[in-house]
Amino acid sequence: MQQLDDQELVRGVLQGKPTHQLALYKKFSVPMFRVLLRFARDHAEAEDMLQDGFIRVFRDMVQFRGDGALGGWIRRIMVNTALSHLRKQRDFLRDVSDFTPFENRFHTEEDFASQMDAETLMKTLQKLPPGYRTVFNLYAIEGFSHEEIADQLQISIGTSKSQLFKAREYLKRIIDKSFIL
């Protein structure tokens, strides 16, 4: 099947064409799965989020007005789906005082550069407690403000800032420890 542009994809999905649904899924499944991997604790949880996210995309495609890029619209749906999943988890924002991060050991700078690739960073991120990981994702990568994070997660702005600070500390410890050792 030839590459379809976003408008054709949207039109086909709205008409319920299975070929267009599959084409849209193939085009956006990998980038959206990478987004969701950052919010999930593992591969399986990210797949559950992706499944729910695409069901929402197909269901709510009528609401896509074409003002912005289709990818951006789908990404917002995926992030919201991930947050919905996380909100269902009990105490996902709990303060973890006894958290001991796993250690990647890089003996040289070359070693670090060769191994600290996207997959390793992803696994590092997934090892964080859910609250730290979520706030760090939303603030550092998705570009949310603390007000927006507080609104999305129904927490205070102070809690958002504290969760971000602790997430950074843990990540630094992991990377610094790994690099220094």
Binding site: G16, S29, R34, L37, R59, A113, A118, L121, A140, I141
Partner: protein, 199 residues
């Protein structure tokens, strides 16, 4: 491949790493979802509608039912059979038979006598025949009536209508010369002239 010296902060390290990923998934497959995801999505997403909304289907169904009922009622409605007898015949047939005394008949003029004799010698109408003629049963007469074309031409094999006795009677009376009027009694000629003159 990411260079550690390029990152000013931890946030930038993660952001740049994840934003600059290639479009194709990694060979190791860490960023590729399994096929079961699409299978679940496909099973959940409903197939497209045929274009017929529930409202349209309801309207079309109601219209079809109405047309069907109308056709049914049209087909089974009672069909008026073509009249086989004239009203005059029916009157004759349904009229009570009056026994005309012999003396009265003898006193009648010749045409009337013949007519009276014809009526008395005619076979009496059986009740079944009466019923058939006066009140046709729609169920029984329906096939015959439906087979019969509209018009006055009788079908082959069908019974011809009985002669119109009223018409015959009238023709007979017309052909019969009139009898002279009876002469008035003389007492009528004597009118009280005196009393009338003053008027």
């Amino acid at each position: 491949m990411t260079e550690p010296q390029d990152f000013n902060s931890l946030d930038e390290l993660f952001r740049k790493t994840f934003d600059n990923l290639p479009e194709t998934p990694a060979p190791s497959g860490w960023d590729r979802p399994s096929d079961r995801v699409w299978q679940h999505v496909q099973a959940t997403v409903k197939p497209p509608r045929s274009g017929w909304s529930t409202k349209a289907i309801t309207l079309v169904s109601a219209l079809a039912v109405t047309v069907a009922i109308g056709l049914y009622l049209f087909v089974i409605r009672p069909v008026q059979p073509a009249e086989t007898t004239t009203p005059a015949e029916q009157a004759v047939m349904t009229a009570p038979t009056v026994e005309t005394p012999v003396e009265t008949v003898a006193a009648m003029p010749a045409p009337e006598q013949a007519l009276v004799q014809k009526q008395t010698t005619a076979p009496a109408i059986q009740p079944q025949q009466k019923q058939k003629l006066s009140a046709p049963n729609t169920r029984e007469t329906e096939p015959a009536a439906s087979q019969r074309p509209t018009g006055s031409i009788p079908l082959p094999g069908s019974k011809s209508a009985p002669p119109n006795t009223t018409v015959e009677y009238m023709e007979l009376l017309w052909k019969t010369p009139l009898e002279p009027l009876p002469v008035l009694p003389k007492s009528i000629d004597r009118l009280p002239s005196k009393g009338l003159e003053k008027y």
